[in-house]
């Protein structure tokens, strides 16, 4: 099994799709000579040329829209939006156009478009380059939303997103590009809507996404030392959501924590909590705890940024809360 970084895994999925299929092409700002602001598409210009690795002007609305148009003609474009903060500039095209053409046309059209973007805090880029906005898109019928947390996941999920016949918002996390994982020799597509259980446990289920998957795994290790057995579930696809895996896990552990880097308020965790309380109400032994960023824009100064976004100790505090050992909690501000 080869080892790939998260960055290489994204590149590998894109490249393999482009090798086998002329309908796949990529477009975005600075993706050609520079290989993207995160270096994901490095080398792809040399292999595929400037027609299929299209550098664009700074025109998020138009490049997403062009992706939609090409997709409706049967191509499978992958648009890179440099930072997810800038998906806000393309919101109209994503929400009103991409998500609705199939429906409004009574099923005549399909929009097999993938929009890759990345973001997240942890490196002091300031308030306009550090947001986690994935939950916004889960609110829109017609879109699919993926948030991959490991190299093998990002590879298999991106492939499935490219070959899905619907518009997919594909989130990557800035701080994960360097992490490595063994991936299957042959690219194995991962179906959209299938969660991954990272770690089995008996006492508490932590449903985590993105960077928080890794924080949750670390917290689970620490909880174990305290005699608390934690199961870590990464839904991987936020829409559609693998409700069964989450609910089954909670039915086993009877406790649930949801964790993401985005603010808790109206966050993805709120949706998970609603589903769990409805489908596993009689199984719950404790209120569901939510871990996320404090409800502020991401501040610049590192001491503030560090305090605003959640870390493994916040997940641990939430785990302790659910098992009634919250005295030692020090990150309760993140837990709602």
């Amino acid at each position: 099994m080869p080892e790939l970084s998260y960055r290489e895994a994204v590149r590998d999925a894109l490249s393999q799709a482009m090798r086998q299929d002329d309908d796949v092409f990529i477009l975005g700002e600075d993706i050609a000579e520079m290989g993207g602001s995160m270096g994901v598409t490095q080398g792809m210009l040399d292999e595929f040329g400037p027609e299929r690795v299209r550098n664009t002007p700074i025109s998020e609305m138009a490049i997403v829209g062009a992706g939609i148009g090409a997709a409706m003609q049967g191509m499978r474009p992958v648009v890179e939006v440099m930072y997810e903060d800038f998906t806000t500039l393309a919101m109209e095209q994503i929400v009103n156009q991409a998500a609705k053409h199939r429906y409004m046309s009574g099923g005549q059209l399909k929009v097999p478009l993938t929009i890759r973007t990345q973001g997240g805090a942890g490196w002091s880029p300031g308030a306009q380059h550090a947001q986690q906005l994935e939950a916004w898109f889960v609110h829109v019928p017609g879109l699919k939303v993926v948030f991959a947390s490991t190299p093998s996941d990002v590879r298999g999920l991106l492939w499935s997103s490219i070959y899905d016949d619907n518009p997919v918002m594909f989130f990557e996390h800035r701080t994960l590009y360097g992490i490595k994982e063994d991936v299957p020799e042959e690219l194995e597509p991962i179906p959209l809507g299938q969660a991954r259980i990272h770690r089995e446990g008996e006492d508490v289920t932590v449903v985590a996404t993105g960077r928080l998957v890794h924080e949750a795994i670390a917290a689970a290790g620490e909880a174990e030392a305290e005699g608390v057995s934690v199961e870590v579930v990464d839904p991987r696809t936020l829409l559609p959501l693998d409700e069964a895996t989450i609910v089954d896990s909670v039915k086993k552990t009877n406790r649930c924590v949801v964790a993401h880097e985005a603010v808790t308020r109206m966050g993805f965790g709120a949706e998970v909590a609603a589903i769990v309380q409805h489908q596993a109400f009689d199984y719950l032994d404790a209120p569901i705890e939510r871990v996320g960023s404090r409800f502020v824009p991401i501040p610049f100064a590192p001491v503030m940024e560090e305090w605003v976004v959640p870390h493994s100790n916040d997940v641990l505090a939430a785990i302790r809360q659910t098992v009634g050992r919250s005295e030692s909690s020090n990150g309760a501000g993140h837990v709602e």
Binding site: F300, V303, M304
Partner: protein, 323 residues
């Protein structure tokens, strides 16, 4: 000052002040590069080395209560608009004494007292607000002008076009200053702009436009003065395109793999606005050394000031979300 100075009539004394200010910005940004490489500055930074004549030429033509909106490449505009180097450096170090109190960082420099309505990390993000600020001046009959800085790359985003259209439609006192450095990050002009002369963009909106050599501070100053007078006088907005050069990477640490290898060295030889100005001025070696020593001391002082500054408390993050 802006009203009495005319092209060809910029006094030697004023030009010397421009020189000093451009050199201060240059030395400040070189220090920023150095401190970033030393790992002292968080986040990421864009310097405007090579573009100093635009910042100084435009800001020196402003009156004190005119306002600006800046970009991700904001240090020069901020200093030229009057923010003390200490406060700017403190911001880059994330200190409470910083011009944005540690909340903003390099791409979000604010100094409202001095008319700086903020640097913007979203390309084109500041332009519509400048139309609104100018509208407020017009409503209140205040003889003020609102000025937006932005790059050539920003002329491709919707806000640029919508803002210019609206500004002209409402004839507000705004000046749009395009720093045309031929690059948007790694993307050269020919990959992002189907036209050469960006001042033509204004034609579509019936807006007055000027295109000037942005490496010549005197030319920028003269054109900016004229544009400001036009706007202030109620004749409507102006697009001022300043052709300039980014004599550095897009961000500090940018390996610039996309840029022809010898281009930078060549341009540094031929297109340095500070060299150009110094060649034009009758500066003796002594003058040069004196000015150099003065600005270096200010810059060193700003680093000391910043390092001795106060870190915010983590809980301060909860403040300032709402008014």
């Amino acid at each position: 000052m802006a009203q009495v100075e005319r092209k060809g009539a910029v006094s030697e004394e004023l030009l010397r002040e421009f020189y000093r200010e451009m050199l201060l910005i240059r030395r400040f940004e070189e220090k920023v590069e150095e401190r970033f490489r030393a790992g002292e500055l968080p986040g990421f930074l864009h310097v405007a080395i090579g573009q100093e004549a635009v910042a100084v030429g435009v800001c020196r033509a402003l009156q004190d209560d005119d306002v600006i909106a800046s970009t991700h490449r904001a240090h020069g505009h901020t200093l030229a608009k009057g923010t003390h180097p200490n406060e700017l450096m403190a911001e880059l170090y994330g200190k409470v004494e910083g011009c944005s109190k540690g909340y903003g960082g390099s791409m979000h420099l604010y100094d409202v007292e001095r008319g700086n309505l903020g640097a913007n990390a979203v390309v084109g993000g500041g332009l519509p607000g400048i139309v609104g600020a100018a509208l407020a001046f017009k409503f209140r009959d205040e003889p003020r002008v609102a000025v937006a800085f932005f790059g050539d790359g920003a002329t491709n985003i919707g806000t640029f076009h919508e803002a210019l259209n609206l500004a002209q439609l409402w004839l507000v006192p705004a000046v749009f200053v395009c720093e045309n450095n031929g690059w948007a990050e790694s993307t050269p002009a020919h990959q992002q702009l189907p036209i050469d002369d960006l001042s033509k963009r204004a034609e579509a909106y019936g807006m007055k436009a000027r295109r000037v050599g942005g490496q010549d501070v005197e030319e920028v100053f003269a054109a900016a003065s004229e544009a400001l007078e036009h706007a202030r006088g109620g004749d409507g907005p102006v697009l001022l395109v300043c052709d300039t050069f980014r004599l550095t990477g897009h961000y500090v640490g940018d390996p610039q793999v996309y840029r022809p290898r010898d281009e930078l060295a060549r341009l540094r030889e031929t297109e340095d606005p500070i060299e150009k100005l110094s060649a034009r001025l009758d500066l003796t070696d002594e003058d040069v050394q004196e000015i150099e020593a003065e600005v270096v001391e200010i810059v060193e002082g700003s680093v000391e000031f910043a390092k001795a500054g106060t870190d915010p408390q983590p809980e301060d993050a909860l403040k300032n979300v709402y008014a």
